[in-house]
């Protein structure tokens, strides 16, 4: 399979223009004796340029849903098109390619590699995407500048504050110019000030036309999203556009 290396963040969705199109998605964790139904039939459609907040209590299945959206995991049943491509039946390596080119992840605990500098961390997805050394460096520096860390590129994560680490993670998520940015509690490990910085940055990305799906407990962040999807017991209970 061969995707173009760069593409516009809001274009090129599938035939019907949706970026995410999930129908009847279920996820069952089978641990031998006990079967846990984490998702029990999710339908979810996200269009280019949307900012979707997924909310719900702990154990509702929202993180599972985010993992499925990001192709980190595969559904037990249902169909899933990401950017027009059917991804439900892909093998591990094909999924890795899809994640690399279509998805940018931002995690609660940042998930930066501690032994690498900020620049090397941001370069990593480009490395896996087969981007050459010079181009890799140029694009990584560019993304770091956009998140306001041009003066921190040679710092290691331990030399950065929590807010700075999350901004490095966001730069990393954007490095491959993905179709969609997925964030799992991006402000969960941050103090109020840094959290609000990160929120502003995400909102700014939305303003630039990027598509975001964010799992959050943070009401402030959910309020900024254009659409709030509430999950409870593995089902979508409400899905509404926020009142502007």
């Amino acid at each position: 399979m061969n995707w173009p290396l760069t593409k516009k963040h809001n274009g090129e969705a599938g035939g019907n223009g949706h970026i995410i199109e999930m129908v009847g998605i279920t996820k069952v964790y089978d641990t031998g004796k006990i079967k846990v139904e984490a998702l029990r039939g999710i339908d979810l459609v996200v269009d280019p340029g949307e900012f979707v907040a997924i909310v719900g209590p702990s154990g509702s299945g929202k993180s599972t849903l985010l993992n499925l959206v990001g192709c980190l995991d595969t559904p037990t049943d249902g169909s899933y098109h990401l950017g027009g491509e059917a991804v439900a039946g892909l093998d591990r390596d094909a999924l890795a390619d899809v994640r690399n080119r279509r998805v940018g992840f931002v995690f609660q605990n940042f998930n930066l590699l501690p032994q690498l500098t900020a620049l090397e961390n941001v370069e990593m997805p480009l490395l896996f995407g087969g981007v050459g050394r010079r181009e890799r460096r140029r694009r990584a520096l560019d993304q770091l500048a956009r998140v306001g860390l041009a003066d921190r590129v040679e710092h290691r994560p331990t030399e950065l504050s929590g807010g700075q680490m999350q901004r490095v993670a966001i730069a990393r998520a954007l490095a491959m110019e993905p179709d969609i940015v997925l964030a799992d509690e991006p402000t969960g490990n941050l103090d109020t000030g840094s959290g609000s910085d990160v929120m502003s940055l995400l909102t700014e990305l939305w303003g630039q036309g990027r598509t975001l799906v964010v799992v959050t407990h943070d009401k402030g962040l959910a309020r900024r999203a254009g659409r709030v999807v509430e999950i409870r017991d593995g089902l979508v209970v409400t899905d509404e556009l926020a009142v502007a």
Binding site: R92, D93, A96, D97, R101, N111, P125
Partner: protein, 410 residues
């Protein structure tokens, strides 16, 4: 991975941050490499040295000494003495096919005197070709006996090196006159020192060699004590011996299948036997070395398993960012191979240093010079490569099979 440089930098960082672990891992490989390479090198040294000493007796010759028949033949009883003289040797030379060289040998103990010193010496009367067949090479400035010496029955003598030291002391023997059995002889050459570990009439270094024609004239001996011959190639010796027995049996009237009429010592058998023995010996040494190296490899494999466990989260993150299974596999495999290669190179260097140290030390007399031949180095490298690959493969495969969601939560 497109960036080998950044891989190496990361590897160096990882190895440096776990100095003790790295050291122990590499040490296991070094130990194993030294075991394989050194055992094989010593084996090769022993082999070469022993082959050289065997050749001191002669270069794959057959030694035959006329004896007594043990079978009745054409109405003649057993126990008859077989006597061979110079005309029989000439007969064999004419009649037997595939005879590359043949020389009679007459032996006696004769009194030799030089200056005030007198010694009782093993003296052999032989043909000029004897020198080449028995690896009797003259030291610089001398020569072996030659056809003219033979034809003219010259009184010339070729002296063993230790006997020369004993009899002539500091004087250069070549050109000196020595009294042998009451007649003056001119020394034409001295034996160049050689390894010799077997003999049939005294060690060459303590003998005197004179032309067989001179010997017969000097002592009146007619019958040869023995004769030596060889085929053009060593593997022809066995068939050649059969033809020699057949021809001589017909002339001397004994049964060619009579194993006693002529005593036969085919030195080729010794080489063949020894080569086989050394092959088995080297296989054994190599096997022991490979076992040791395998133990080292198991150590590396364990370490790599620990490394994979420690880096589970890192692997999960990389996979989430789009690293394929084989990228992860390749990284760990390469890392193991690099570790193994470092250990292997150090091990080979140590082995080489050891070989160099043994050469010229007293140990050399006991075991010969260990030889780290390209073949041995290549073999060791191949075994190392295999061990490294296997040691790295299974931990790396475990890493590649991790589920990114689970791995990232650790």
């Amino acid at each position: 991975m497109t960036s080998f440089g950044s891989f190496l930098r990361q590897l160096a960082r990882d190895l440096w941050s776990q100095k003790l672990r790295t050291f122990l891992t590499v040490f296991g490989i070094i130990w194993g490499t030294v075991a394989v390479a050194l055992l094989l090198a010593v084996g090769e040294g022993v082999h070469q040295r022993q082959t050289r000493s065997f050749a001191g007796l002669g270069d794959r010759i057959v030694i035959a000494w006329p004896s007594r028949t043990s079978l009745p033949f054409e109405g003649l009883g057993k126990g008859r003495r077989v006597r061979v003289d110079e005309s029989d040797i000439e007969f064999l030379e004419r009649r037997v096919e595939g005879l590359a060289a043949i020389s009679s040998e007459y032996n006696d103990n004769l009194r030799a005197r030089y200056g005030g010193r007198t010694r009782l010496v093993d003296v052999s009367g032989v043909s000029p070709v004897f020198g080449v067949m028995r690896n009797m090479i003259p030291a610089e400035g001398g020569r072996f006996i030659n056809p003219t010496d033979m034809a003219e029955r010259r009184r010339v003598v070729f002296v063993g090196n230790e006997l020369a030291d004993d009899l002539f002391g500091d004087v250069d023997p070549v050109g000196e006159e020595v009294m042998l059995h009451g007649s003056p002889f001119l020394v034409v050459g001295v034996l160049k020192a050689k390894d010799q570990d077997s003999s049939y009439s005294g060690r060459d270094h303590s003998k005197m060699i004179i032309p067989s024609t001179t010997f017969m004239a000097l002592t009146g001996q007619r019958w040869v004590d023995l004769f030596i011959y060889k085929a053009p190639t060593p593997d022809g010796n066995e068939a050649l011996t059969k033809r020699v027995l057949a021809a001589l049996g017909e002339r001397k009237r004994f049964d060619p299948t009579d194993t006693q009429a002529l005593g036969i010592w085919d030195t080729t058998e010794m080489f063949v036997w020894f080569d086989t023995f050394m092959l088995a010996f080297k296989l054994f040494l190599g096997f022991m070395g490979v076992l040791t190296l395998t133990v080292g490899g198991i150590g590396v494999s364990n370490i790599m398993n620990v490394v994979v466990e420690e880096r589970t989260r890192e692997i999960g993150i990389k996979m989430a960012l789009g690293a394929r299974g084989r990228t992860v596999l390749g990284q760990f495999l390469l890392e193991t191979m690099v570790l193994t290669a470092i250990g292997g190179l150090i091990g080979l260097a140590l082995t080489w240093a050891f070989c160099a140290a043994v050469a010229g030390s007293p140990v050399e007399n006991a075991i010969g010079t260990p030889v780290l031949s390209p073949g041995i180095a290549l073999l060791t490298a191949s075994v190392l490569g295999l061990v490294g690959f296997l040691a790295g493969f299974f931990p790396a495969r475990n890493a590649a099979r991790l589920d990114p969601v689970v791995a990232m939560k650790l």
